[in-house]
């Protein structure tokens, strides 16, 4: 749990997490798989078009460089996975903690209290996002023009409803508590 590294308030409970949709990772995975197969396709085309004869020595030299290429693709795949997996919104009973991983050396953690939320917007654009139910969630704060955005969130409408409910609950709790 990021909560073991993340400082949560005393008694703060994490209700749910908003994560990226699996389709985003699938597209990146397919793209990298296509890149991984590219040398094989090139060799196949060369072999058929230029009647290439491959000796065992050439074959294993090619195998060596192909394995290096596959390692590069493997590392890129897990880099993309890390980037996707570590992007998360933790919705607690008091606030939204937005964690955005940008590459491996850039991480942004922002926190937004429910009493400062003014507006939540969901935008689902396009055929596949509508079909698979994923899109962007924008949370606008009161006063300043600060907005936090979660791109390609899975089930954004469900997340929006839950955040709205928690927001309402936080506001009614605030109303009940004596004025400071």
């Amino acid at each position: 749990m990021p909560a073991n590294k993340l400082k949560t308030y005393h008694g703060e409970k994490i209700f749910f997490q908003v994560r990226k949709h699996w389709f985003i990772m699938l597209v990146e995975g397919l793209f990298l798989s296509a890149l991984a197969l590219l040398p094989l396709i090139a060799i196949f085309i060369l072999q058929t078009q230029m009647s290439l004869t491959i000796s065992p020595q050439v074959f294993w030299l090619g195998g060596f460089f192909y394995a290096s290429w596959l390692i590069l693709m493997w590392l890129l795949f897990w880099l993309a996975w890390t980037d996707n997996y570590l992007d998360v919104w933790l919705v607690t009973d008091q606030r939204i903690i937005g964690i955005e991983q940008k590459g491996i050396f850039n991480r942004e953690v922002s926190s937004l209290r429910f009493d400062r939320i003014q507006d939540i917007t969901v935008s689902v654009e396009g055929f596949l996002p509508t079909l698979l139910s994923f899109g962007d969630i924008h949370v606008q704060t009161a006063g300043a023009t600060v907005e936090i955005i979660f791109k390609n969130a899975a089930r954004p409408y469900v997340a929006k409803e839950s955040i709205n409910r928690l927001h309402g609950r936080a506001l009614s709790r605030q109303d009940k508590s004596p004025a400071e």
Partner: protein
């Protein structure tokens, strides 16, 4: 094209391939350490962290051993 490939295979020194292998393996280890740091510290699910780590390590070890096998067979084929 065939002549060029045969020339390249003949001119390639296995020692150069071992050096490339060491560079790739070293880089992979450094990147693996960075991944481990991130996954261990920022994981949201221990099971996910462990299974992802296992799949990643298995794939990497397989590919590195593929490189070693290719160098060994290439060296033998050249003799």
């Amino acid at each position: 094209m065939n002549e060029l490939l045969a020339y390249l295979a003949d001119a390639t020194n296995p020692r150069l391939l071992w050096l490339i292998f060491l560079a790739v393996a070293g880089l992979s280890v450094i990147i693996s350490l960075i991944f481990t740091y991130h996954w261990y510290n920022y994981q949201t699910d221990k099971k996910m962290f462990l299974s992802a780590g296992l799949i990643y390590a298995a794939g990497l070890i397989f590919l590195l051993s593929m490189m070693v096998t290719a160098i060994l067979i290439f060296t033998n084929a050249g003799q």
